[in-house]
């Protein structure tokens, strides 16, 4: 996937044809360029930042755009759900006996054991999943970025301590550790994202640390230091912007991972508790009803799959767009 590799000096030396940027400039009528140092006319395109470049490449990746579209769609649907979702997700839909009806025009995904509309529940379940995914990854990011940057920048004893602590976290099987935490904290919506967030920081810290270690060696960092820049300034202005790309990729994929974990924990009864609709919890209820009501199993799982897949594809796309090399 390195066919269109990003060139750090801002000149687009390797893609001589085609629409070049978001500003609508087309350079097709110019003679094909060869490998020469960037000439002034190239730097005359002010919109060509690193991120603009990445966005341009991302746009060409159909799978990543499909993922982004699906995520956007789900966010819009869930945020606006109160305005249009036809049935109450928490209560049976009608007074007559409507338990386990097969999908129909009234209930596109059928109804569950006590007659609740599965379609509404899947949509409200997306709220829980997305919220847990984003909140959990935010917690991991706050802890992981702080510890990872200190660890990578200062090294020494602090680094050794942080990395050994990370090793200890990695020694735990992930799901089991989450269960142990929730056994103590008590299963609830809030505790699920706290637990997943706490478990996620070591990976973030490791990725950022190794990224900083390689950026730190650049001459411009030495130059900034020679000019008397403070540690904080070097960190925020010079190192972070160049070290953050792997975190963006990893963070995007982690949201998908957190959503799967939340579903697994709720499936095991350690996560979001009923009657709040969550995809994992719905699958847990479906387990005993696979024969009479297979739609109870199919739709929540399909929702998890498509949502997580979207984040994975987005992550893959970002990795190629930002040209991040990751050890799988």
């Amino acid at each position: 996937m390195s066919a269109d590799r990003h060139h750090p000096d801002g000149g687009d030396l390797h893609t001589p044809q085609g629409p070049l940027d978001a500003g609508g400039h087309e350079l097709q009528d110019q003679p094909p360029r060869t490998l020469v140092p960037a000439v002034p006319e190239v730097s005359a395109h002010p919109s060509r930042t690193l991120w603009g470049d990445a966005w341009m490449r991302l746009r060409k990746n159909k799978l990543a755009i499909a993922g982004l579209t699906w995520i956007t769609f789900i966010i819009i649907v869930t945020v606006s759900a109160d305005l249009w979702v036809p049935q109450n997700f928490a209560e049976p839909t009608s007074t007559e006996f409507a338990s386990m009806q097969a999908p129909s025009a009234d209930h596109p995904f059928g109804t569950d054991r006590i007659g609740r509309d599965v379609f509404s529940r899947v949509i409200y379940g997306a709220r829980v999943s997305l919220a847990v995914g984003i909140l959990a990854v935010s917690i991991s990011l706050v802890i992981g970025l702080a510890l990872g940057s200190l660890s990578g920048y200062y090294g020494g004893l602090l680094d050794a301590f942080v990395m050994r602590t990370a090793d200890i976290f990695f020694a735990f099987p992930y799901t089991l550790f989450a269960i142990a935490l929730l056994a103590v904290l008590g299963p609830s919506y809030r505790n699920v994202f706290i637990a997943i967030g706490i478990l996620g920081w070591p990976s973030i810290a490791r990725v950022l640390r190794s990224s900083i270690l390689s950026v730190k060696e650049n001459e411009y960092v030495d130059a900034a230091r020679a000019m008397g820049a403070s540690d904080l300034r070097i960190m925020l202005r010079h190192i972070m912007p160049n070290a953050i790309a792997p975190i963006i990729v990893y963070g995007t994929m982690s949201i998908g991972g957190a959503i799967i974990t939340e579903a697994a924990l709720s499936y095991l009864g350690m996560g979001v508790q009923p009657p709040t609709p969550s995809w994992g919890g719905m699958l847990s209820e479906a387990k005993a009803l696979m024969i009479p009501a297979p739609w109870l199993t199919v739709w929540p799982g399909f929702a998890i799959l498509t949502t997580v897949l979207s984040f994975v594809l987005m992550g893959d796309g970002l990795r190629d767009a930002l040209d991040v090399k990751m050890k799988d």
Binding site: R164, A171, F172, L176, F177, A183, V184, A263, G301
Partner: protein, 323 residues
């Protein structure tokens, strides 16, 4: 060699202490919400007399470091406490279930090796072909599927939809309780358990193969007129395999620790399902003890895997620390 093994074991000690410290900390009153006595008592009513008795029994009235000492020495002697529900020690219960977990883990690893390697090699050798696209897409999908949902779908399909053709041979949940499972019952749980890792194996194999195929010695071998098969399997594969083997080794450790989701979906009588049932029954000693046991198993299997690398590949032995 002995020196390497010794150093590797020494490295395990701080991790072991850290892991036990965290699990121990989860039991200290006040540090986290949750009362350890209540955890031990479970749903039973807690009278002051009972509380005093339990505090005495579990050394909860001692100072925190002394408690930790008791905790560690208990673990080292294989004493993880007693189940609240069953009149047995946690160690007994888990040891009983371990062979089933090991059986499932080994067959899942076989699935990973056979399918993952094949898919990875095919998609690398025929890069950008139809099969490459199929493999790349299906690995993305596989890492996004919740394993327990995959298990449910497989059960629905093989156990219910096409039951008349299979004679119900796959439907473990109805028949496999208690008695040691048959080989045929292994098939669906192994595929489910292996799914995510198989996708990773295929991805790593593909990228490693592509890298190996670009090397000079491959071009030399091709130029010598060797057949593609010889080049792929004798020259490229050998070098591409090392990272894959590393991944599989780590995964073996993780799987040996029990697969809580797969085992509970398929009612597989292993360590993972036992811990799940304990969670359901609020049998906290089994849950917390189970986590300790699983971490120890994972660490031990990783140690064995690392040592066997060192035997196979001398570079690791002499290459300083294992990281």
């Amino acid at each position: 060699m002995l020196k390497y093994v010794f150093r590797r074991i020494l490295q395990m000690i701080p991790v072991f202490l850290g892991v036990t410290l965290i699990l121990f900390a989860l039991r200290i009153p006040g540090l986290l919400p949750g009362d350890p006595v209540q955890l031990i008592v479970g749903e039973r009513e807690l009278t002051p007399a009972l509380r005093a008795q339990i505090e005495e029994e579990h050394h909860l009235n001692e100072s925190v470091p002394v408690q930790y000492g008791y905790y560690i020495s208990g673990i080292l002697q294989g004493d993880l406490g007693r189940s609240l529900q069953k009149n047995r020690t946690v160690t007994d219960i888990l040891l009983d279930k371990f062979p089933n977990t090991a059986r499932l883990a080994v067959s899942a690893i076989l699935v990973e090796i056979v399918i993952g390697l094949m898919a990875g090699i095919i998609s690398a050798v025929k890069q950008y072909s139809f099969w490459d696209v199929v493999v790349t897409l299906s690995t993305s999908i596989l890492v996004s599927v919740p394993v327990f949902w995959l298990g449910m779908l497989l059960q629905m399909f093989f156990g219910i939809k096409i039951k008349q053709w299979t004679g119900g041979a796959f439907s473990l949940p109805m028949s496999g309780m208690g008695s040691p499972p048959d080989l045929v019952h292994l098939i669906l749980p192994s595929i489910t358990l292996a799914s995510v890792s198989t996708a990773y194996v295929a991805r790593i194999m593909r990228s490693q193969m592509l890298e190996a195929m670009g090397q000079d010695y491959i071009r030399t071998a091709m130029a010598k007129g060797l057949s593609q098969r010889v080049v792929v399997f004798k020259h490229a594969l050998k070098n591409a395999l090392i990272p894959v083997v590393t991944f599989i080794g780590i995964d073996l450790g993780a799987l040996m620790g029990g697969a809580i989701l797969t085992e509970s979906v398929f009612s597989w009588p292993g360590v993972g399902r036992e811990i799940y049932l304990a969670v359901m029954q609020r049998d906290w000693p089994v849950v917390m003890g189970g986590v300790v046991v699983v971490v120890l198993i994972v660490m031990f299997v990783n140690l064995l895997v690392d040592i066997s690398y060192a035997v196979l590949d001398p570079r690791i032995r002499y290459g300083g620390t294992a990281e």
